[in-house]
Symmetry: C2
Subunit: 395 residues, 2 copies
């Protein structure tokens, strides 16, 4: 018969389950692995031996426990030896990191991204970062693959909003450039930044253990990543979550998408600066300066923060009624606005969210901070390894 | 080693895959099953023999094909022998059906539901229907279980919107009443009507083969069922999709939920009748009468239909930008409004939906008509059987 897994496939599944556990939860004793995985001690011993030979975990004796009996060995992910390259193509910057198994950032690079450049123009600089980090990595280490987070506005500029395929357009050039930099053809996987930030916060951040999560990312635009039933939810062709283009103010200000009154025209960076009387600057620094001014008592800045906070709460309330999440995470520039205007946001939620749904809803900022999408890109690259550690690990 | 399936479990998985295929796609030759399932001919023979003895499929010689060689036997689901009870608790009616494997409605009952009754008050009448149908079922037949679709407004009245647990509150009394009616303890599963309608249209209706689907159900309120990545998406505790409480008109009319300007205050049945100058009647008949008047040239009715159609398009555009579905299905009363006001709806979508996403979007009405949620309730009951045909089938 076909279909059903062989003994070897079962072993690979169990290897994946064990590796995923120490990758996400960190070092763990064999005794705890035995309990958590429901496998017996000798099986755990055989699996850790396999993963150790593949260079994916290490084992060591625990610190003195004071208890009688032979202590259980502690299994840790080999962060130094097995890693992924994570790349984040953002509105105003390019970032790349070498991220070890277990989610440890081993090395990182960053450059400003000149305004108006295409997404494809980012390919050579990030490939350069990867080549540098690859040269600096010591021998005996192994690259698993690369993951790329592409911001909403970058995708929009590439025609993603037109075609739902902007990130896919980056796929081939990124694969070629990274292949050249790494001198091989490790897999390159590309996804939307908000989706990957949601993935990372769900895997190892503030939303660990939550079943249904909405991650909102703000820069010039507003996008969302959704986890429902513990899984990433995307629309047709892997895209969705263009929540910035939900109309919240019929007949409102014209949006770059061609519509009017879109949420991002009321809560984006431009809306905030405009509400404060058109202060200079742009991007995250200008937002931070304005929020800082508000905290120091600048009345115009305070008004702008409250006004944008009110519209932020308005859109979040709609999304909560639609998705009924356990947690909403405010990332990117929305982190600053939420922290400065939490009272306005909560006041809107009290008015608009269905009564009983408010009780279980938690509002949070990312535990991984601005690294959420970058770490999510690494998680994307690790997925293949965790599905079949010996196949991906041994190659 | 644990975890991995045994030979017996593999056989059960394959039995489930075969049964699911004929349940959803109808009678199919052994040759086609062999191709579709990737199993060899002797395995298909063994599996159909098992399913035949369990009374779940039948085999017959095909009609004369004119081809040489021994013709391949045709495998059909035993719709008459294995069935589920499907129950739908709606705003204005109660329905129950005996639905055979393969989705065939074998028997059905219906009663008006007096306004203002609680959901729990529906339990005895539907249990009565089930007892009647059970008595009428011939010998040698087998009930697999029962599924219940609960409409959004029913849940709201039960406190579901408060507690996200309205349908759960129906669970125990329904189980007890149906257990008494059937004289056994077959499983009873309860879910939101829009979710089940989406499930049914995706399984065997207009959305078969679509990966990402939004089903909108309208009665007094508006709810949604979402399929993403081919799976049902629900929020915390299994609820979500309360899209009727997305605010589309800030500062608009007061809604029963406590907020103002909710989508359902602009497109619900009350909004439509109000827009036409407060005509008499209520419920689906009043909506049908108004749509009919519009088609006969009644100017006030035409204006009301256009106005509600415009707001319908407005909310759908927001949801399309959020979910990026391949298909939106208009069910319940929204079917009539969409058909009468498709031009207004499409005009709004052209203004508001992200340009490239419009191209792949299809707007449809339910292939299963008003039975979508009822058939979905049966699908819910069949899920357990399809997961493990011999276990659930033999009990």
């Amino acid at each position: 018969m076909r279909a059903g897994p062989s003994q070897d496939e079962i072993r690979r599944q169990n290897l994946g389950a064990l590796l995923r556990l120490v990758h996400l939860r960190g070092a763990m004793s064999r005794a705890e692995l035995t309990t958590r995985l429901g496998l017996n001690r000798s099986t755990i011993g055989a699996l850790t031996a396999d993963l150790t030979s593949a260079g994916l975990v290490t084992e060591r004796a625990p610190r003195e426990t004071g208890r009688a009996g032979r202590p259980s060995l502690v299994v840790s992910p080999s962060s130094e030896r097995a890693y992924a390259y994570a790349i984040s193509i953002e509105v105003d910057q390019l970032r790349a990191a070498r991220v070890g198994l277990g989610g440890v950032v081993l090395d990182r690079r960053r450059a400003a991204r000149p305004p108006g450049r295409t997404g494809v123009a980012a390919v050579q600089p990030v490939a350069g970062f990867v080549a540098e980090m690859h040269a600096a990595a010591t021998g005996g280490t192994r690259c698993i693959g690369s993951g790329v987070a592409v911001g909403g506005r970058v995708r929009a500029a590439e025609g993603a909003i037109e075609l739902s395929a902007g990130a896919a357009e980056l796929d081939a050039p990124l694969r070629a450039a990274l292949g050249a930099a790494l001198r091989d053809d490790r897999p390159v996987t590309v996804a939307a930044a908000a989706d990957l930030a949601a993935l990372a916060e769900h895997a190892r951040g503030v939303a660990a253990g939550c079943d249904t999560v909405l991650y909102l990312h703000g820069d010039a635009g507003i996008t969302a990543g959704v986890i429902a039933g513990g899984r990433r939810v995307t629309g047709a062709g892997g895209y969705g979550g263009e929540v910035g283009h939900m109309v919240v103010r019929p007949g409102g200000r014209r949006c770059s998408c061609g519509s009017a009154g879109c949420w991002e025209t009321e809560i984006g960076e431009h809306a905030l600066l405009r509400a404060a009387g058109g202060r200079g600057g742009a991007g995250r620094p200008a937002v931070l300066a304005l929020v800082d001014a508000a905290s120091r008592g600048d009345a115009a800045a305070q008004l702008a923060v409250r006004q944008v906070g009110d519209w932020l709460g308005f859109g979040v309330a709609n999304l909560v009624n639609i998705f009924n999440p356990e947690m909403v995470i405010f990332g990117g520039m929305l982190r600053e606005i939420y922290l400065a205007a939490a009272a306005s946001v909560r006041s809107r939620l009290r008015l608009m969210v269905l009564p009983g749904w408010r009780g279980r809803l938690r509002l949070r900022t990312p535990a991984l901070g601005d690294d959420a999408a970058l770490i999510g890109a690494a998680e994307l690259a690790f997925e293949r390894l965790l599905a079949d550690p010996l196949d991906a690990g041994a190659a």
